[in-house]
Symmetry: C2
Subunit: 451 residues, 2 copies
Amino acid sequence: MSYETYFQNNREKHLAELKEWLAIPSISALSEHKPDMVKAAQWLVDKIKQAGLEHVELHETKGHPIITADYLHAPGKPTVLVYGHYDVQPVDPLNLWVTPPFEPDIRDGKLYARGSTDDKGQLFLHIKALEAIIKEEGTLPVNIKLCVEGEEEISSANLPGFLEANKEKLAADAILISDTSLLEKGKPAISTGLRGLCALELHVDTANTDLHSGTYGGGVPNALHAIVSLLASLHDDKGRVTVEGFYDGVPDISPLMKEEFQKLNLNEEQLRESLGLEQLYGEEGFTFVERTGARPTLELNGVYGGFQGEGSKTVIPKEAHAKITCRLVGNQDPAAVLENIKRHLHSHIQPGAKLTIKDGEKARAFNIDPSHRMLQLAADAYEDVYGVRALFTKDGGSIPIVETFSRVLGAPAVLMGFGLPDENLHAPNEHFNLENFDKGLLTIVSYLKRI
Amino acid sequence: MSYETYFQNNREKHLAELKEWLAIPSISALSEHKPDMVKAAQWLVDKIKQAGLEHVELHETKGHPIITADYLHAPGKPTVLVYGHYDVQPVDPLNLWVTPPFEPDIRDGKLYARGSTDDKGQLFLHIKALEAIIKEEGTLPVNIKLCVEGEEEISSANLPGFLEANKEKLAADAILISDTSLLEKGKPAISTGLRGLCALELHVDTANTDLHSGTYGGGVPNALHAIVSLLASLHDDKGRVTVEGFYDGVPDISPLMKEEFQKLNLNEEQLRESLGLEQLYGEEGFTFVERTGARPTLELNGVYGGFQGEGSKTVIPKEAHAKITCRLVGNQDPAAVLENIKRHLHSHIQPGAKLTIKDGEKARAFNIDPSHRMLQLAADAYEDVYGVRALFTKDGGSIPIVETFSRVLGAPAVLMGFGLPDENLHAPNEHFNLENFDKGLLTIVSYLKRI
């Protein structure tokens, strides 16, 4: 039976299984979901065993469990380590979801649920592709190792140590990861670069209590005034980050890279319209693809303080808060970037306001040469299924662990993504296009057979 | 029996009654408390009747009910109209209250509850003072009218119309209001000026959904970036409001006024310390008393957008929100100020961000000449009880209706407050010092007898 037929025959069953997994709210960032994390991990362990993989182990960590497994019956053949994550992002604002984030729903050929594309849905493809080959051919054409974590959305705190401690056990010739996107429908892409990341939270405190704006207004510091002027100081009016030293280690965009970017032929006007934007916006002098692919950013992810209820309240808030993440490129050092931002913040805080800063995750950017054989074979596999060869791109997102994996195991990372850029990952109404669910299964099978 | 003895004998009973009233969460700003508003109004109607006042009426409005009553048995004597409000401010952040806001609690001679000082506690003094005189002397020494509303904290939307429609019925020689503060413990003050007010809410929208900061970061507008730079543009680094025309109608501080302010002899260092501040802060070139008494302000009362939960979330928020109120002085026209702010905001919004602005309440500043007989008698009454004559001050707060009352009824407003500036009005742990509860009752009796 052809794999097309096999996957067609099993489609309903596979989707029902995936929906079951997506219904478990495995939000790694929120401690109240700890039991759901265990449940989601255990669900996956069972499916990996069912698929026919061996040595399936669930490793406890200080955070959420890591799962490993293998199938090593192709002596002399390369070993591929498949990585993915079973944790998902928080879901607020909940009111913007058309159907609840943990009640998976298929509409117009798309599967809606938190985690559907990032990354349960994509990881699920690998389990089912491996199961299919084992069932159809009795064995796998390559050696396979599996390493799945539950902390990708919260900086993979425990995976680097686990990798170091299990270097031999996890040794591989390539690391295969499906946690990225096609360029657009029908246009596969292999990312040869991921931006790095660093995160911080800041807290501004003024008085020991909220104050009445009549009695005190104009005479005392207002935590909100202090935080907005502080945060506004982080960018100039050309969209450039003003933090001293922020751009250290950022490479110029080479003529070759510029050419690669132009090949992508992104329609900015179409993108603008699809996002409902009046206009795109960013650092002056760069295109959208350059801004997201080759330039670092400093983004405010959350700002809050004072009264948020209905109506008005004449209060001078005593505290205000902000959450910031940066995307890093080239040789930017996340630790140095954090230090520079902290120095900037401390030197720009308004008199009378106290500033506290808490560091978050840190990850370096990742880059790989597209001429590597394992990447070229991946492009071929896409061509088998999609009819067009994958383009090699730079991805704006971060999978902090990719750089670590690649460095610790000394192997190339193959970012074979099956999402689409507009699938609302990290946002309300996250979904996964089932066209790529179907094609993803076939592409993985083709890749493993080609190696 | 002396009034001291009378109030001493009834103290427990009076406090128990007041606690009963404070336990009703009459938050006018939140629609879910509509039934509590009715309950709090009805409770007051009953107490006014018990006190012996006549023609007690509850008037329905488009918002919350207005209560009127009178006692007109002193022919040839002046008529005093007592005003107060039974609505209270919202209570968040709830976690900062030591005891719940609607479970009144007496600690260290202070009554803790939302509304204890603003304004239920102070209004209650008038009801009990009137009741005492009627009980002790069989009648009142002046004619009394009562007008109590439930919308003071939300701009008194319906009272001005009510006043216009009932001009004759409410005609009086003075309007007596206890909704302000002593200068400090043992130092009574009569406010001869209140700042005006205008309010607005603003909403910034960018994309049609929250976006992933990896895929889009650096290439699309971020609603939070847009709002912080917009809000930061409202002040310069000398604490001055940068909105063109904002200071139109603001009088210079005259040498006489400067002298009055100096007489207050405010200890700025002590104030700073009591508020837990590193330093006071405000418009350069003015003292704290000048800033809050004679200068206008533009305050951010709330700002929010994006992720507020535990941990981090790499999201580009699609919307951000802010609430602003201004305190106005002299001849500043609230409508013109609002227009000027709106013009400023629309001309400073970042490209790619959409701005929506919603107007809130508007009120002019109020000023009265301290040499007026009704004010001088009030200062005498304070002296009878506190042993020191009240100082005439300018108050930073706004009671929007005072200017309207005074204008529509053509009578002086006597702001005979019994609160203290540090009683956390509009903030967690609002309280009322019982020393001023006791002295307030006696001061009101003395005032009415002196007229």
